[in-house]
């Protein structure tokens, strides 16, 4: 019974993506994936994730450290501000960068004069993705570190450990699960983000199309098999993320 539920709810969509992708044979599948535009989209998606995830991870750890290990005024405000991107629709998240960097935006004339492209180019996509994935790591870590308090770290410091040592040896081991989960959520969102990226991308084929945008384009071109082929690529990326998470969990459980 439970197996049926799982099969129906989760496995069926998974299988559908693969089977629709392979419906017209492996050749069509392969052609769709080796299409230069699809490859460019894959490269771009990976590049964007490779830039945004580490940046937001570093930020998340720093912010969580500051907020949970120290007392200061305005702490609540800071915590709320970190949540801000969550409360804002991704489309708006893309739009604000158009307002700032667009031709009619704040920096528009200046950027134009210096011939720098931010929106409708890779930097814009990175910025929009940074914005929407901004709180993930921090939000995972803050409650966790709050709970753990500061005694362990303080003890380590009194015993003569340096700041880095405290972080690596004391804090990190106890937050690694939360951190990992945060990174995974952040990564999944970074690779799958559609709304915000769609606004700033400009949809230039082979240049500013990410994988999710490419799926939509192919779908709109009636190339359903190709569309599912690219979707299956995203699916595999998602499965790989889960696998990594699982492997790490298992390794650390022993």
């Amino acid at each position: 019974m439970a197996g049926l539920v799982l099969l129906w709810l989760i496995v069926l969509p998974l299988v559908t993506v693969l089977s629709e992708a392979l419906k017209r044979g492996i050749d069509v599948y392969w052609a769709a994936l080796s299409d230069p535009d699809a490859r460019a989209a894959l490269r771009l998606t990976l590049l964007v994730a490779a830039i945004t995830v580490p940046l937001n991870t570093v930020f998340g750890v720093m912010a969580a450290w500051t907020i949970t290990k120290f007392q200061f005024k305005g702490k609540k405000l800071l915590t709320t501000l970190i949540d801000l991107p969550f409360a804002i629709s991704p489309v708006i998240g893309g739009l604000i960068f158009v307002l700032v960097f667009g031709r009619q935006g704040w920096f528009g004339p200046w950027l134009e004069a210096h011939d720098i492209k931010i929106i409708f180019a890779v930097p814009g996509i990175v910025l929009a993705t940074l914005f929407v994935t901004f709180p993930f790591v921090a939000k995972e870590l803050i409650p966790l570190m709050e709970e753990q308090g500061t005694q362990d770290e303080e003890a380590a410091v009194t015993l003569g450990a340096s700041g880095w040592q405290v972080f690596w040896k004391v804090t990190l081991p106890s937050i690694r699960w939360g951190l990992l989960y945060g990174i995974i959520l952040c990564n999944a969102r970074a690779m799958g983000e559609f709304g915000a990226v769609s606004v700033v991308s400009g949809h230039i084929r082979g240049e500013t199309n990410t994988l999710p945008l490419h799926v939509e384009i192919l779908y709109n071109e009636y190339q359903f098999s190709a569309s599912f082929a690219v979707a299956s690529l995203l699916l595999l990326l998602a499965l790989a993320t889960l696998l990594i998470k699982n492997l790490l969990t298992r390794k650390n459980a022993h």
Partner: protein
């Protein structure tokens, strides 16, 4: 005494390094990525007045979209509560080959881009799809009807329930059940009288999370809903189409009014979770409202246990994730 304590505390805090750089980086990065761009939005006046807000928020088409969003999300969350309990039960209580794999698959809806889920579900439930073609002879249309929306929301919401119920079930003391059994309680009675009460709070949490997420879901629903005003147009879709018409004011109005309900439900969660921390000793203080007993207390207990930190962080954060998910249309 208090002063001394405070000073002591302060001295201790100062022991830890990294405040300057942490604060500096946080503020710097946040201004760069979030605050500066957002201020552009604030300064770019949307021209939203009260009258406009009211007329948009009570427009019949908008009202219908709330009804659809809330209705389908509630049904999906309800079904998910039952199915999620079932899945969690099997995953915790039984051993079978590939258990780890199945367990990992539960997280798939978290990791899968919602657009991919959307096209896949549409392919399954449209009249010529695998399940759609089975339903068609029975006169049931799944895709492009509220039923389809509900199914998509079930896919999106199921991990929330499983992941909140699972740890509680894992920790439920089995000897109590065994005692109940030896005392002659049937299996059903044991379940109902012994197990279920301990699960109710986490089931409620799971329901709330799945519900909140469902209200805001956009990506997977947009493909399967059919986008028919008054019939299958969900609120996030309406927001999106207002944005496409550059009607930012209208979009904001719909968003504000439709966000408020998941916001209430999630702030209730977070309120009971962290808003009312009492010293551990005072936990049992006799009477207390139903909510206190069934929602707040167990939640707090659940999220306190250190060895459950993984779930705990998931859970407490889930309220926020759900709220964010419901607020945005991504």
């Amino acid at each position: 005494m208090a002063v001394a304590n405070k000073q002591n505390n302060r001295a201790a805090r100062r022991v830890l390094p990294g405040f300057g750089i942490g604060m500096g980086f946080t503020v710097f990065y946040m201004s760069l990525v979030v605050l500066v761009p957002l201020s552009a939005l604030l300064l770019n006046k949307t021209g939203l007045t009260w009258d406009k807000f009211w007329s948009v928020a009570t427009d019949p088409r908008v009202l219908a979209s709330y009804r659809i969003s809330l209705g389908t999300a509630a049904i999906a969350a309800g079904v998910n509560t039952v199915l999620g309990l079932l899945l969690a039960w099997v995953l915790v209580r039984y051993d079978f080959p590939g258990k780890r794999l199945w367990d990992a698959l539960i997280d798939l809806p978290f990791a899968l881009p919602t657009a991919v889920a959307g096209v896949a579900l549409t392919a399954i439930y449209s009249a010529n799809g695998w399940i759609g073609s089975l339903l068609a002879p029975l006169g049931i249309k799944a895709a492009f009807t509220p039923l389809g929306i509900t199914i998509a929301l079930m896919f999106i919401g199921i991990p929330f329930v499983v992941r909140t119920v699972q740890p509680v079930l894992q920790d439920a003391e089995r000897d109590v059940e065994e005692a109940a059994a030896t005392l002659g309680a049937g299996r059903w009675r044991t379940f109902r009288a012994v197990i279920l009460p301990t699960l109710v709070p986490s089931l409620l949490t799971g329901f709330a999370l799945a519900f909140a997420r469902g209200i805001g879901e956009y990506g997977s629903v947009v493909f399967i809903s059919g986008n028919m005003p008054m019939k299958t147009e969900i609120a996030p879709l309406l927001i999106m189409s207002k944005l496409e018409q550059f009607d930012y004011a209208g979009a904001t109005a719909v968003r504000c009014s439709c966000c408020s309900s998941p916001f209430c439900c999630c702030s209730a969660l977070t309120y009971f979770n962290i808003g009312r921390v009492r010293p551990p000793g005072s936990r049992r203080r006799g009477g207390g409202t139903w909510l206190e007993l069934y929602l707040a207390e167990p939640l707090r207990r659940l999220w306190r246990r250190p060895h459950r930190q993984r779930w705990r962080s998931r859970g407490s954060n889930g309220a926020w994730s759900a709220w964010q998910a419901s607020c945005c249309c991504g």
